[in-house]
């Protein structure tokens, strides 16, 4: 269980100090999939990065399974069971997909075992396992590999920062199944996804709305989702499907 208590985060820019996160208190319970949504620029990604330790809060405390992790490094938080999938997956020169999955797993892993994680995210393992994690891979491929590293890490809390960002809708349709499967197999762990996609919101146990740096709403999906439909916090599913169809038609025409 993760608890955020009175988290604030300020940045200093040309216009002086600006509050990005304002006194947010939030609990992510075990065995739950929580989807955090809200308008762009509202502070969702910042909150995720604060939990992973990439950013330090200006004030407030973070507790993970009862332990105060506010001052812990990124590495120690990772070791204590927090996984973080980047919105923009990082590229490397010379580091192969299999290397990254082994590092995520934290132990020697046979190629066959590493391949199972790739299959889970819908990649043909044999084609990808020896490829370098570099710009020769498409945005969708990088995203799937990023998610495969999080599956391999098997964290108590896995955070996904906008898994839909930077990939085409067709690829995203397939990724939804990955999250559905994660939701079905959740066990002594929890998942936090930052997303605007209605289909992701739809598989959440709970929805959290962050707007203008403030916790605007939190509650069960059935309660919160109807209030969000047709706003930018929940991209319209019909529109999404139509775009997906158009993308498939274009792909077929080519």
């Amino acid at each position: 269980m993760l608890e955020l208590k009175n988290i604030t985060f300020d940045v200093n820019d040309e216009d002086g100090a600006k509050e990005i996160i304002k006194d947010v208190s939030l609990t992510i319970p075990d065995n739950k999939m929580i989807v955090v949504t809200g308008p762009n620029g509202g502070g969702k990604s910042t909150l995720a990065r604060i939990i992973a330790g990439i950013e330090k809060p200006t004030s407030g405390r973070i507790y993970f399974n009862g332990e105060d992790i506010t001052d812990m490094s990124i590495t120690d938080r990772a070791k204590s069971g927090i996984g973080f999938a980047f919105q923009q997956p990082v590229k490397f020169k010379g580091i192969r997909v299999v290397d990254l999955i082994r590092l995520a797993k934290g132990s020697e892993l046979s190629v066959a075992d590493a391949c199972t994680y790739l299959s889970e995210v819908g990649l043909c393992a044999r084609e990808y396992i020896d490829r370098e994690v570099n710009s020769s891979l498409s945005g969708g491929e990088l995203k799937r590999i990023e998610i495969a590293t999080i599956l391999a890490k098997a964290s108590k809390l896995s955070i996904f920062d906008e898994p839909e960002a930077g990939i085409d809708l067709w690829s995203f349709q397939n990724l939804i199944q990955v999250f559905e499967s994660m939701r079905d197999n959740i066990h002594d762990s929890s998942i936090m996804i930052i997303s605007h996609q209605e289909r992701i919101l739809n598989i959440a146990d709970e929805i959290v709305v962050i707007r203008n740096g403030v916790l605007a709403a939190q509650g069960p999906k059935d309660e919160i989702l109807p209030t969000l439909l047709h706003t930018e916090s929940a991209v319209d599913g019909y529109c999404f499907k139509q775009q997906g169809k158009a993308a498939r038609a274009a792909a077929a025409a080519n």
Binding site: I54, F86, K93, G94, L103, G106
Partner: protein, 310 residues
């Protein structure tokens, strides 16, 4: 190594520079502290000593396929300086691997230096893979110095791949490689270099594409750490319809310094030449990504550098 008289340090150096853990299969010449300590020629590959200067001639018969030549050099005596001239005559349509390399262990107060001057005459249609590794060890005050000179003359439709590696322990290197390519010949160079401490490494390439359809791809990946300095100076000259590419991709750490001087000269309107050069520190997001997988910053750095130089 049972038949060769080599001590433990020499064994270690041979393993580092030529992956040799036992007597190599095929032709070889092992040079240690200024003299040959083992040599084998085969039916297709003849190794003979030069008479006027120190060094060997390696003659590979036309049509020789899938054979290899190992010519490692090890030095374990402090204060030894040598210049060695090795010439390789690679027969038409042959397909061979040549493994060179030099390891210096210097525990003494004086500098040890090996300057290997290699010339390759690559026959029509021949294919050569050349691997050269440099390695230094020992904690003496004497420097470990390697100044290799390489000349490559490629005939029509020949292919040569050069894998040049220097990862550790060499204090001072000044490497000059010159190549001339005839019609349809192709040269591929992959250089990997890491300098540390106060090391100094200069790498100069001068590739001339004389024949129609010839091509060269010269790529260096390097890491300069501590207070080390590197200079990468790669020039491709296109005198015919040809294609050339040179690339320097470098990571600097600590107080490391790198100077990249890519040079292109097109003397024919159908010459297509490109260069790329990038120098920078390890990207912060690469470190953060690996740290979110549980690696410390130092472990993440090591993984990134190892991958980069792989």
């Amino acid at each position: 190594m049972s038949e060769l008289k080599v001590d433990e340090i020499q064994k270690r150096l041979l393993a580092e520079v030529a992956d040799l853990h036992e007597i190599p299969v095929g032709a070889f010449n092992i040079r240690s502290n200024g003299g040959s300590i083992g040599r084998v020629s085969t039916a297709n590959i003849e190794i003979t000593s030069k008479e006027d200067v120190s060094g060997i001639d390696v003659r590979i018969k036309p049509g020789t396929k899938r054979e290899s030549v190992h010519i490692p050099v090890v030095m374990t005596v402090s204060g030894l300086t040598e210049i060695v001239y090795n010439d390789f005559y690679i027969g038409e349509d042959s397909d061979v691997t040549i493994v060179a390399g030099c390891g210096i262990d210097n525990c003494g107060p004086k500098d040890s230096e090996h300057d290997g001057i290699h010339r390759f005459f690559v026959g029509k249609g021949a294919r050569v893979k050349y691997v050269e590794k440099h390695y230094g060890s020992g904690d003496g005050k004497g420097k470990r110095i390697l100044n290799p000179g390489t000349e490559v003359y490629m005939e029509e439709d020949s292919y040569m791949e050069m894998d040049m590696v220097q990862i550790k322990g060499v204090d001072d290197t000044n490497r000059t490689s010159v190549a001339e390519l005839a019609k349809g010949a192709k040269l591929v160079v992959r250089e990997r270099l890491m300098t540390h401490g106060e090391q100094n490494a200069v790498s100069i390439y001068n590739v001339t594409l004389n024949g129609e359809g010839s091509s060269a791809d010269v790529v260096s990946r390097s890491v300069a750490r501590d207070d080390s300095y590197q200079k990468f100076d790669a020039k491709i000259i296109g005198n015919a319809p040809c294609s050339g590419h040179t690339e320097c991709d470098s990571i600097i750490m600590d107080n490391g310094r790198i100077l990249a001087v890519p040079g292109l000269e097109a003397n024919n309107v159908d010459a297509e030449l490109f260069h790329e050069a990038a120098i920078g520190k390890i990207a912060g997001d690469q470190l953060i990504k690996l740290m979110t997988l549980g690696l410390t910053e130092a472990e993440a750095e090591e993984q990134i550098v190892n991958g980069f130089l792989k």
